[in-house]
């Protein structure tokens, strides 16, 4: 773009004259390619691939940060089947994902469609919906802790406006997990809205207009043009949501520490405690493998749902 005629001469006396030997040119491109790619390959290999393999291996051992360890076969897994805390956290995490993912995706899509109607103040709305996302989970959790505060919190203040009796929210086993879900949905909306909005703006105007000329109403245009067009983005949002909801930790750590009892105990929290408080690394790794499998199943189901959707 900004190449001037002089610059190349300064830069590279070694470069082959244009067109003279295209094979050398391709060779130098390939060499440059691998050089540019090497840092990312090295980094991901060391910090992602090796750890994933290590989790699989560690889960078959009784390693606990010490010098000695032994292979224990699948006994970590069989122990997990009898572990009440693990059952509770797995169940809570799955429940959390099943509730939070569809609700937050639906709300986010609805908001994005609203924002896509060429409205005034788009920048303001976009920022407003995104504010919870840019805020650290710890900060978000702290604010909501205060809102759910049974004595003087906003939630009970709001209820009292309508004459309802105050609730104990996070302290009540029946409402603790749903209260956390509300925060999770609220916090995750921003990113999804922005991605959907970007996708909606990319839907072909021509297609929408010709559908309108053919007499399709708003709903038909949405179902037949918009919905298929944002398919890839739906999938991207779905995947990141699945990964995101299974990661829930900071929120729980700050708001409830898994309580009351173990009503809000989640998988990552259980893994964290087993690994770094009880120092049972092999055990925690087995737990992690199961989490991987569950996430894979979720993604698979997501794919199948999408495929079924496309075939309609």
């Amino acid at each position: 773009m900004s190449t001037t005629l002089e610059r190349p001469a300064l830069e590279s006396p070694r470069t082959v004259a244009p067109g003279k030997d295209s094979r050398t040119l391709v060779k130098s491109q390939v060499r440059a390619g691998w050089a540019l790619l090497a840092p990312a390959l090295l980094h991901s290999g060391i910090f992602i691939v090796i750890p994933v393999i290590a989790v699989l291996v560690l889960s078959l051992t009784d390693y606990s940060f010490g010098d000695t360890w032994a292979w224990v076969g699948f006994s970590n897994y069989t122990d997990l089947f009898r572990d009440v805390d693990f059952h509770a956290s797995l169940w809570h995490t799955v429940l959390y994902a099943i509730v939070v993912i569809p609700i937050s995706m639906a709300i986010a899509l609805a908001i994005a469609i609203g924002l896509n109607q060429k409205i005034r103040g788009l920048g303001f709305f976009r920022t407003a919906f995104y504010i919870p996302t840019v805020t650290a989970t710890v900060a978000v959790a702290t604010i909501w802790l205060w809102i759910y505060n049974p004595g003087s919190g906003l939630a009970n203040g709001f209820l009292s406006l309508f004459g309802f009796a105050p609730n104990r929210w996070l302290a009540d086993p029946a409402t603790a997990l749903p209260s956390l879900m509300v925060v999770g949905i609220w916090q995750g909306l921003g990113t999804k809205v922005i991605i959907y909005l970007a996708a909606l703006q990319g839907v072909s105007r021509d297609l929408l207009e010709s559908a309108q000329l053919d007499g399709a109403n708003r709903w038909q245009r949405f179902v037949n043009v918009t919905w298929p067009a944002i398919g890839p983005v739906q999938f991207f949002v779905l995947i990141t949501s699945i990964v995101g909801t299974f990661q829930v930790f900071d929120l729980v750590y700050v708001m409830t520490q898994g309580g009351p009892g173990s009503e809000t105990r989640v998988l990552v929290m259980d893994i964290y405690q087993n690994a770094f408080q009880d120092l049972k690394l092999g055990y925690a790794s087995a737990e992690t493998v199961i989490m991987m499998v569950v996430i894979a199943v979720f993604i698979l189901v997501g794919r199948l749902l999408q495929k079924a959707d496309v075939n309609d």
């Binding site: 440059a32 992602i48 788009l122 890839p232």
Partner: protein, 302 residues
Amino acid sequence: MTSATLPAVAGPSSKDPAFRPGRLLLYLVLSVGAVLMITPFVWMVLTAFKSNAEIAQFGWLPGELRWRNFVEAMQTAPFLRYFRNSLIIAVGETVFTLAVCTTAGYALAKLPLRGSKMLLNYFIVLLLVPFQIILVPLFLIVKSIPLFGGNNILGQGGIGWLNSWWGLIIPLGAAPLFTFLARQFYVSVPNELAQAARVDGLGEFGIFWRIMTPLIKPALITIAVFQIEAAWNGFLWPLMITTSDSMRPLQLGLAIFSQNPAEIEWPYLMAGTALATLPMIVLFVFAQKRFVEGMANVGIKG
């Protein structure tokens, strides 16, 4: 900034009266939504100004604006140090990520590598691995980085990157998501530009750095904003690998504030939280337009 997104406003609503009630409803719903999103923050800021007596009961406005809450909050905890630490981590991670992910993304998109499709799939699969899953071995790897923190060449005997800036910055930088994102942008830059530069005799690295990379600024901004946010809000990883206060970031400082439920100083906590959040909101307000363009490319182009 918002003006650029508005030009088409005049449109259907004024022409078509039937649209009017619908429009009004739309604005109403969106506004209620926006209020729901913002209320907790307004609440937070107002609380930061209150006295301990005032927060004991439900109420909105503080009796007086106690600016000294902010000053006192910063004095009770070493906030400035937490702030500085978060800044170091955020800047370090962002520079590292931009360097690694743009180079890799460019190579995947534009250079004739054998198996580049496979390599792309490799990064996409990695994108699905949540960080929490590899928590435990990642800790062990960081602990046994050779020749750091008293380790020998085999990575034993010392603490490696634990309690170090290296450990805080490098492992979580350069996420595959950003390599993927950068690649999506480079793909859409026309090849002719690179060809022309090649004919002019510019080297491959020169083409990458001077010709192609300046053209994907929205991607760079998107990656930077995402990475700064992630680093700024990081919690679990710093909690695991640091033991001393001297390197701990803001989020851990805030969490320590609320660790003992019996004696939380709500106004101080809220003041600290507000101060911690503000930079990220400002960042988004300034970057949002480019940021949205950036997001648009992630999912759309195969």
